[in-house]
Symmetry: C2
Subunit: 272 residues, 2 copies
């Protein structure tokens, strides 16, 4: 199986790519991992200009030789390229598996809206730099190559439809051309490096959308690396999720084993 | 004229209230400025619990003895109380002038949606703590008491409809029950203390809304106190506004003299 790695958001590093290639070679010698050179470009905040990121994404998406596209990392920038890139995807793009999370959620959202059948929220090559990051990379490869059940988020129920996003990313894509119809879906949300008042405000925004009020419920993943709130916010993310779900008439379904960490499990979009 | 000050977001201080009262007494001895004691309450991030903030807001809104409601300051919290408070407003609330900005934009939005005729984006009592803050307070009072033309943002055109918001606040209220219909309006946006990548992401979100694509155009106020971007974002707020307006087919109309500073001018909502 050939897997292409591209970076629609921030820049990736050659050293980290080498580490991921090493893990893949050891665990999955049958896999050919192709880091598109675009991953290592640098333009301002991004892994190359918008045009360079679009070109790389379209190139690997439309190449029938790749069985999967794996987003290298998050950061920021996918929303600047998603619509243009998607418009250039041909039939070969639809036949692939797609995997990533965080800022890559902008693309997963647009792909899901476009009816792509094989999308998942889960670890990326950049997770190799985390504590225990090898396990995250191994989990992603186990999913992409063998659909290994151990990679899956444990609360997912057969027959239910699911989607997973970074809360802040999801908050910024509702109402745009990238927002998929999540009617009846269990929505798993996680976040990182946001003040607790921002988590609260994002929950207000997300649960206040008419579209989101049609989901089956919300599960809350980890909200990590929260900067100190001044003054103390006084409510944690679970209380916040409860409050806004109650106000919005959305079922709060409990925790989700996803987050910006090496334990981040895989959530396939849709039913599985 | 009696003006009531309430704090639907973060806590205000007695010392700052005394300074504002002093300015009002000197410049407008005819004004009676009433700082509702709720301004000085403290509950976690907020000027009192949600219930206390709602009660104070409803009390002054429904009191026919007040000619204006002036929001004490921003911070965070208005989105937690806006819908409930608005539902309890009677006819006396509609007869008043309302003034504030920043987080108070959540309330201005909901009030404008509800058809309140006398709303403005402009300085608040908390601006007294800024460099030159006395002038901001004086400008707000000149607007509330005499509709002084010098208080107005200079680009506003007679006959045009306007609305002004903090970009991040506006980004978090689109699609919710608080979003007003801004079809045909000139939308003035400003922001503060947001990384440039967040400004970019908010512009993606805001200009990506079908509702926002019906406005007459965007004017950009000051984007101040921007934390360092890592790496350098490489585009400034004007380039960002141009980019997203172009992609969205929204007219970019140039600068606006609003911002989180003492020069912040008054923008009445609607036509004036």
């Amino acid at each position: 199986m050939r897997i292409a790695v591209v970076a629609p958001s921030s820049r990736f590093s050659e050293d980290d790519a080498a580490r991921v290639t090493g893990i893949a070679a050891r665990l999955h010698p049958e896999v050919e991992l192709f880091f598109h050179p675009q991953c290592f470009l640098s333009h301002n905040h991004f892994a190359g200009t918008d045009a360079e990121r679009i070109a790389a994404l379209v190139e690997v998406a439309n190449d029938p030789g790749f069985g999967a596209i794996w987003f290298a990392r998050g950061g920021y920038g996918a929303c600047r390229v998603a619509e243009e890139a998607l418009a250039l995807f041909g039939p070969a793009a639809r036949d692939k598996a797609w995997l990533g999370y965080s800022d890559a959620g902008f693309l997963l959202a647009g792909l899901y809206k476009a009816g792509f059948p094989d999308l998942a929220h889960g670890p990326m090559p950049a997770d190799v730099t985390r504590d225990g990051g090898d396990a995250a990379v191994a989990r992603a490869l186990a999913w992409l190559t063998k659909r290994h059940a151990d990679a899956l988020e444990a609360h997912l129920a057969l027959g239910d439809a699911h989607a997973a996003f970074n809360l802040t990313v999801f908050s910024h894509l509702v109402g745009t051309a990238l927002e998929p119809d999540l009617t009846g879906h269990v929505l798993l949300l996680e976040d990182v490096s946001e003040h607790m008042y921002r988590i609260d405000r994002s929950f207000f925004h997300v649960t206040g959308q008419r579209s989101v009020r049609k989901i089956a419920g919300i599960r809350l993943g980890r909200v990590s690396n929260v900067p100190p709130n001044d003054p103390e916010f006084g409510e944690d993310e679970v209380q916040i999720a409860h409050l806004w779900c109650r106000k919005a008439g959305i079922a709060f379904l409990g925790p989700a084993d996803i987050g910006h960490d090496s334990a981040n499990k895989v959530v396939p979009f849709g039913r599985f």
